[in-house]
Amino acid sequence: MLLIPCPYCGPREEVEFACGGEAHIARPANSDRLSDAQWSDYLFMRKNPKGVHYERWNHARGCRRWFNVARDTVTHRIYAVYKMGEAPPSVTP
């Protein structure tokens, strides 16, 4: 079970959170002009890296805020958490 440092509440147990998958996927504007393939890319295709992954988490049972986490998918080490709208920090494992 991970210990996730909510940027608002501080470290809390994983049971309080919900994972929202890969971060920094913006909803395309003008979706009507996208091809099926382009739309499917937004809808379905996600990174699954071995190593640092930028992902969204929601402190669902706490302050209800969404935020971003840079987490190593192998060691589960959390390198950084940052608020929605902030640029992803560069992380060197």
């Binding site: 210990l3 147990e13 929202g20 099926d36 739309w39 809808l43 969404w66």
Partner: protein, 1001 residues
């Protein structure tokens, strides 16, 4: 009753004043408080405690700790019986009863022992080779294998004991309370850290409990007592005995199980039997000690053959003699100290057999001085005995063979030692890699990846002084890393010891005949895996340690190979011609020792397994005898049977009453979200398929919510309460999900939107009146709301009082009848309900439950999200194009509706199904086929989503998702239902009042 013939006259940490009676295999014995079951059995001269798993050879007690592979017993009787318990960990209590497993009909006379004579039938991988063909025979084989294997019996009644679980937090968790662990806890505690010290044994002290050494000039036992007293005086140090740390997860999440009352007679204490500790530790010090390695020699499994350290522990700690003439077979100096302990207790030593050609340590000289023969450069090439070991065949070691004539040395026990394996299980679970240390011939912890330090024997330390020093340093450093600023004090001092001479690794002890031909070299005693099995597996091509493990079942017993894994790995390496350590290790998985499932459940079982959510009217429903339906965690009244009514009759009566008079239903579980802000309407336009700009204040509108994939996710009615103020309702099961969905978009995608969403699901209790008489009834209880349909039309909302209770009333309908959904404060719900029931008496008001609600909506063809939909259904599939705005440029899910797959004309469509026999109700979930064949497979074209007997239509009705359904109108399809096939006709999914004339009453 026997008289404990092997109990030593003096010594031990047992309380001789406290006699305890116990039974083993239905025979009565006596022991003392402080005994384990194993030590008490030894004291009584019981060495035959079980049978081998595969060959059913007699087995005795091999260790004195949690690593025990042999002495596995069935503990207790009746509801509390527990299989696969290690006798070495069971603390004796008065009245304890235990029995051997793996033997049938009895441990002395075991039919399965014939397997031993036919052992060539049980080679490595014998399950795979023998029982795989023909496949249909497996069931038969399994019956006999299970019978013969006899892995103990699970109780067949519910566990009567209570279990507890708790979270815990600390700066420094110390695992193991031996010398290193105690030193670490003292250092960390003195520095001011919050400390938890956990140890699996009955009392802290570890190896010191059986030690004659001194610390800080005090005998070990006194030093332990002083250390514990000091820890007890610290405000933030917790010492947990009988507590096994069994799992090491991410971010220093360590799970431990405390055996709170297992050492007491069953049901004799009021608290929980066991407690699960879920510890989040800032830093961990692993001081779990080390496990002695058995030697792999021919017939090394006879009762009486045990680890040298175990023999010394039984003598010193329990005053129980493992034998009267003990032969020691060891490749290291430590076992000589154990031999000395036995000698000091008056136990005879037949000889010490040491493969090292010239052991020269002082301790060896001392042993010789005491008149004990040391056979250097010799090995035990075999053993003999019936039931118990009676002699050892000792031969000279010549390279990797034995030479010369065997000398038979009489003995009734053999104390063996092949060196030590640090207990690195938790370190490995923490993600740390192990490295092979050739000098010590064992695996040691490498670089950690979490905040963990390993100290003492677990780190490869061998002297008491090193253990104390490492423990102290680890405790102090951990406390500092955790932010504790105090002083850790000085490390405890032991007497200086001269370093041991190197041990001589000997992974397989040669015998007269080749391995596998005459005598068995057991490696894994619990799963009966021999050196010959391993070598055979290697010859068959198994060179990966993980494959070898699975093929031979090595290390896969309840002991997880604590005594066998390293010997097996080394033998694999040697057989392959590799360096020992080059083949790696198998994965160390939790739990370290087996954990009772009850400990994981804690209090979350039985009636508390999952939260039961109750509406404010729950008590009223109970009094009326309503059965409840589970809807998520909610309990909803299902129907209200009158005396003599079954569900069918009750639902028939309720459903008729709603369409002819008035019915009342508790709809409090619907999700409700308060939405405020200038951009609220924009949010609604995004998350619903239809347009919201023109909804006036006081009006309500139905909405369909899609996922971004275009599939229906939720539905509900949203009301405009004020200029920038809306109330959204969701389905009962989706309330939290929809709120999360809105927040997800607002926070992550559209932070510019000025909207706040707040769940108000439980701020309001909802009571709905349905039926043509609803208006007349409501009119009697309200004075400040105009109920005339012209003034209060369908899909609108009013605020006022009902029975003098402040209420919000919504004219929305889930039945197709005239309907008022009355919302009041939950604390007033019962008062409102009773007022409506009382006033409704003259209208023959009928309370109805969820089943009738479902029937009524199905008669109208109204969908239920999650029943008609399953995440693969679009609005078009449901025939609900009318609610999908063409004018809106975009909304969540819009683009997906134009994808090639979602816009196919022949997708599954929601249709009605009418069985040819109107009294026959189709099975919900039933598969729909176009063409019936004699047997499967038949092409499935859809499934029944809802199916009821409709009292108002006077026949059975059903809805189904059917491929290309709208082009099959009037076709006959088939629904196989068990042995029968029901014929049905495809129709529109509307079965009552298709024009919707009844909404205004």
């Amino acid at each position: 009753m026997t008289t404990q013939p092997y109990r030593l006259a003096r010594g031990g940490r047992i309380d001789r004043a406290k006699r305890l009676r116990f039974s083993f295999n239905d025979r009565a014995y006596e022991g003392y408080r402080g005994d384990t079951l194993a030590s008490a059995l030894l004291a009584n001269g019981v060495v035959l405690v079980g049978r081998g798993f595969k060959y059913h050879r007699p087995r005795g007690i091999m260790t004195a700790g949690s690593e025990e592979p042999n002495a596995i017993v069935q503990l207790g009787v009746g509801d509390r019986t527990e299989p696969n318990i290690r006798a070495t960990q069971v603390e004796l209590y008065d009245g304890l009863s235990a029995a051997s497993i793996n033997c049938w009909p009895s441990v002395e006379f075991d039919l399965g022992a014939v397997n031993g004579m036919m052992s060539r039938l049980f080679p490595a991988g014998f399950y795979y080779k023998t029982f795989m063909w023909p496949p249909s025979f497996w069931m038969k084989y399994e019956y006999f294998i299970r019978r013969m294997a006899g892995l103990g019996k699970a109780p067949d009644a519910p566990d009567p004991d209570r279990y507890d679980k708790t979270f815990a937090h600390c700066d420094v968790l110390v695992v193991g309370a031996g010398p290193a662990g105690l030193a670490a806890a003292l250092a960390a505690g003195r520095a001011g850290a919050r400390v938890i010290l956990a140890d699996e044994q009955a009392e802290p002290g570890g190896s010191l409990l059986a030690s004659g050494e001194t610390i800080n000039g005090q005998p070990a036992a006194e030093w332990i007592a002083a250390a514990l007293a000091e820890l007890a005086s610290m405000p933030d140090a917790r010492v947990l005995a009988r507590t096994t740390a069994f799992s090491y997860g991410d971010h220093n999440y360590v799970q431990m199980v405390e055996r709170v009352a297992d050492h007491l007679p069953p049901a004799s204490s009021p608290g929980p039997r066991q407690r699960l500790w879920r510890v989040r530790a800032g830093q961990v010090v692993l001081a779990a000690g080390a496990i002695e390695r058995p030697l792999v020699f021919a017939d090394n499994d006879r009762p009486g053959i045990m680890l040298a350290s175990a023999a010394a522990t039984y003598v010193r700690r329990y005053a129980a003699a493992p034998g009267r003439r003990v032969l020691v077979f060891a490749n290291n100096d430590g076992a000589y100290r154990d031999a000395l302990a036995l000698l000091d207790a008056g136990i005879g030593i037949s000889a010490i057999v040491d493969p090292r050609p010239d052991p020269g340590a002082a301790i060896v000289a001392e042993i010789r001085r005491r008149g004990i023969e040391v056979l250097a450069g010799h090995v035990v090439a075999g053993t003999k005995g019936h039931g118990r070991v009676e002699s050892a065949q000792v031969m000279k070691l010549d390279g990797d063979k034995v030479a010369g004539a065997a000398r038979s040395i009489g003995c009734d026990a053999i104390a063996m030692s092949g060196g030590w394996n640090p207990t690195v299980h938790l370190f490995s679970q923490s993600g740390g890699k192990l490295r092979f240390d050739a000098a010590r011939a064992t695996f040691l912890p490498g670089a950690p990846v979490q905040a963990i330090r390993v100290a003492g024997a677990a780190n490869g330390a061998t002297s008491l002084q090193d253990c104390l020093r490492e423990g102290h340093a680890a405790g102090a450093a951990s406390a500092a890393d955790a932010g504790a600023a105090g002083k850790a004090g000085d490390a405890p001092q032991a007497e200086p010891a001269t370093p041991d001479e190197p041990a001589m690794p000997i992974w397989i002890v040669p015998s007269v005949k080749p391995v596998g031909e005459g005598g068995k070299h057991f490696i894994d005693h619990q799963n009966d895996v021999t050196a010959a099995d391993l070598q055979l597996a290697v010859r068959e091509g198994y060179s990966s340690v993980e494959h070898l493990k699975r093929y031979t079942t090595m290390g896969m017993g309840t002991d997880q190979g604590k005594t066998s894994n390293v010997n097996a790995l080394a033998l694999l390496a040697v057989t392959l011609g590799h360096e020992v350590g080059a083949v790696g290790t198998t994965t160390f998985r939790p739990p370290y020792t087996p954990v009772t499932v009850g400990a994981f459940a804690g209090h979350d079982q039985g009636d508390l397994l999952d939260p039961v959510r109750k509406t404010p009217l729950h008590g009223w429903h109970e009094i009326m005898g309503a059965p409840f339906e589970n809807v998520g965690q909610w309990r909803r009244a299902w129907y209200y049977p009158k005396p003599g009514e079954d569900m069918h009759a009750a639902v028939g009566r309720e459903a008729k009453a709603v369409r002819t008079g008035v019915g009342i239903v508790d709809a409090s579980t619907l999700g409700k979200i308060d939405i405020q802000g200038p951009d609220a309407v924009e949010l609604l336009n995004w998350v619903y398929t239809n347009a919201w700009n023109k909804l006036e204040i006081g009006r309500c509108r139905y909405g369909l919510m899609l996922g971004e994939d275009g599939m229906v996710m939720d539905d509900g009615v949203t009301t405009r309460l004020g200029e920038n103020h809306y109330l959204m309702t969701t389905t009962t099961g989706n309330a939290a999900r929809v709120l999360g969905w809105l927040e997800n978009w607002l926070q992550c995608e559209w932070p510019h939107m000025r909207v706040y969403c707040t769940s108000v699901t439980e701020q309001w209790a909802t009571v709905a009146l349905n039926g043509p008489l609803a208006r007349r009834l409501l009119a009697e209880l309200t004075t400040d709301i105009e109920l005339d349909p012209a003034k209060f039309p369908f899909l609108s909302f009013r605020e006022g009082r009902v029975a003098a209770i402040p209420a919000r009333i919504y004219r929305i309908s889930f039945t197709g009848e005239l309907s008022y959904e009355i919302n009041v404060a939950p604390s007033h719900a019962v008062a409102l309900w009773q007022a409506l029931m009382a006033a409704g008496e003259k209208y023959a008001i009928v309370p109805y439950g969820t089943e009738t609600m479902h029937v009524l909506r199905a008669e109208k063809g109204y969908i239920i999200v999650g029943q008609e939909t399953d995440g693969t259904v679009t609005p078009h599939d449901l025939g609900m194009d009318w609610i999908v705005s063409k004018a809106k440029k975009d909304f969540i899910g819009k683009r997906s509706l134009a994808r090639a797959d979602t816009s196919r004309p022949d997708r599954k469509h929601l249709m009605g199904l009418l069985a040819e026999n109107p009294s026959e109700v189709l099975p919900e979930g039933g598969q729909v086929v176009a063409e019936v064949k004699d047997r499967p497979p038949m092409a499935m074209i859809g499934h029944v989503t809802s199916s009821y007997f409709s009292p108002n239509a006077g026949r059975s009705i059903a809805m189904a998702l059917i491929k290309n359904g709208r082009n099959r109108m009037g076709e006959t399809v088939h629904v196989p239902a068990g042995e029968r096939v029901i014929r049905a006709t495809v129709t529109e999914p509307k079965f009552f009042d298709p024009e919707g004339k009844r909404l205004d009453g």
